[in-house]
């Protein structure tokens, strides 16, 4: 549905988007992540035909954004970050205007306005002045405006920014609902949101594509998979265990068949903590081992790397995103 190839966008000497390529299938829901200034908004503005690309091509539904801009714009419902609305107009008027802009007859525009207002839960505010609405309500009106022409593609730039947690949940639920029938590209820097809504994530960093893949793929690749945290009494009561005792425990753990690495993670009193990585049912193996050895276990838990941790590592450039030609799907491209 959306094909972006080697997209580059300059503002004078500044490169806002640098050689970004990705592809969205029809019906896909993709989260656009990246720190502020990473190029998310610029990429969305190119997709929606607001800004022309400096280089590269962007196609939406088979239409080029430069050569066939109007056809592209007809297929996209766009909610810009600023949620542009005419504050002096009533909600209904704004929606009818959007319909008329798209060439709908007045009656049809009114009918659609009623439908989308019901969808975003604002039917009773149809006659309200937009300037009098709360931020959350305006955000939902913005969504209604984007939805009015019943577009195949929804591009939503930070749809929940500035909302309180309750409103955020509402908008998130709405987006999840919309995502069932449409291709959605959604940007946010609120990670739990992306985690909840988007199976696939594209991460931008300094205008470059830092990662692209499903959440599980990315986490497996970048976060190193799951690990098990094990905390146990390794020394005599109340005393800090000595190096020999620790080494012994480590050796026992490392001897398990599926374990690839064991790292000591400090301790407290007679307890010592370990991070164990490896394949398969690690926690079960460790549990049986502890039982055999008679260790007093205080904690045995499987830790999942979070998108948040991954995002922070990319944003802080701790994670050098490398190209991985062997794995085109869900591969890491960009800054290498």
């Amino acid at each position: 549905m959306i094909t972006v190839q080697h997209l580059t966008r300059r503002f004078g000497p500044r490169l806002a988007v640098d050689d970004v390529s990705f592809h969205l299938e029809r019906g896909e829901v993709v989260g656009f992540l990246g720190p502020n200034g990473a190029g998310k908004t610029t990429t969305m503005r190119v997709l929606t035909g607001f800004l022309p690309p400096s280089a590269g091509t962007v196609e939406v539904g088979g239409h080029d954004v430069l050569r066939d801009s109007l056809a592209v714009r007809e297929r996209i419902g766009y909610l810009p970050e600023s949620v542009p609305l005419y504050r002096e107009h009533r909600v209904q008027e704004m929606l009818v205007f959007q319909g008329r802009l798209r060439g709908l007859a007045r009656a049809e525009a009114k009918r659609r306005a009623g439908l989308v207002l019901e969808r975003v839960g604002l039917s009773e505010r149809a006659r309200s002045l937009i300037g009098r609405l709360s931020k959350g309500q305006r955000q939902r009106v913005g969504l209604a405006v984007a939805l009015l022409p019943d577009p195949e593609v929804l591009v939503l730039d930070e749809p929940t920014s500035g909302l309180d947690p309750l409103q955020r949940i509402e908008v998130r639920r709405l987006i999840q609902e919309l995502a069932r029938e449409r291709t959605v590209l959604l940007s946010s820097h609120i990670l739990p949101e992306i985690e909840a809504v988007c199976p696939r994530v594209i991460i931008l960093q300094r205008g470059r594509l830092a990662a692209d893949g499903t959440q599980t793929e990315l986490l497996a690749r970048l976060g190193g998979g799951n690990f098990v945290r094990l905390e146990l009494a390794a020394g005599p009561d109340g005393a800090t265990p000595d190096a020999a005792a620790l080494a012994l425990v480590r050796a026992r753990i490392a001897a398990l068949p599926d374990v690839t690495s064991v790292e000591a993670r400090g301790g407290e009193g007679d307890f010592a903590a370990f991070e164990v990585r490896g394949q398969g049912a690690l926690a079960e193996g460790l549990g049986r081992l502890a039982q055999r050895e008679g260790w007093a276990v205080r904690e045995l838990s499987t830790q999942r790397p979070t998108l948040e941790g991954l995002f922070a590592r990319i944003a802080l450039e701790l994670e050098p995103a490398r190209p991985d030609p062997a794995q085109p799907e869900g591969s890491l491209e960009g800054a290498a």
Binding site: R9, P80, P84, L101, R102, G103
Partner: protein, 249 residues
Amino acid sequence: MKGFGAIYRRELAGLFLAPLAWVLFFLVLLYQAYFFLLVLDTKGGEVNGSLAFVLGGGTPFWLLTLFLPPLLTMRMISEESRSGLLEFLLTAPVADAAVVSGKALAAATFLALVWASAFLFGALTALLGAPPDWGLVFAAWLGASLVSALFSALGLVSSALFSTPLLAAFMAILVNIALFALPFLARSWRGTGGAVLARALEYTDVLGHYQGSFLSGALDSAHCAFFLAWTAAALFLAVRVVESRRWLG
């Protein structure tokens, strides 16, 4: 042009929903009525001359015409660019030209309504037993509206060029004054090339084209074309500026 009608209607509604337009409307009505009565008094009740005076015959009209359109158009692009509404319009499936000309026509329509106050004055004098030459009033009104359309289009160019409404209005007023006054200056230039310059500037002589036809009650298509052509040129320029904003970002 798809979307033109929707944008035109939205802009016109937007003008009337803002207090500025109503304040301007009311003040201009008072201003026009004051000068109409003043001239009517000094001319000893000559209705046609007085109506012509407030529709382009006198300085008060031109003062308004140079200042009013920039005030109406100053926010149309510069402020919408800041609020993001321009992004909304420019990502809608309509041509940039539809956006720009819809806005220009809305401003021109507002001014045409303001100038239509002359019909009211005429109707009043007709009630009092001195009917005006309606053909003359109509021609003068049409001329005034065409001049307003031209200055509105120029105001939009300025609004597209500058990022703050105030600066846009200021620059548009300067341009309007220059366009208005240059032919005078050229005619009074005594040095070499003065004659050539004056000839050249005839092609931009707003006042000459206006007073030469509309005020005499003659609807001359050449003079209408003069205003329409310059308005179209200004609109074209405004569209280009909006387009270049996309490239510059």
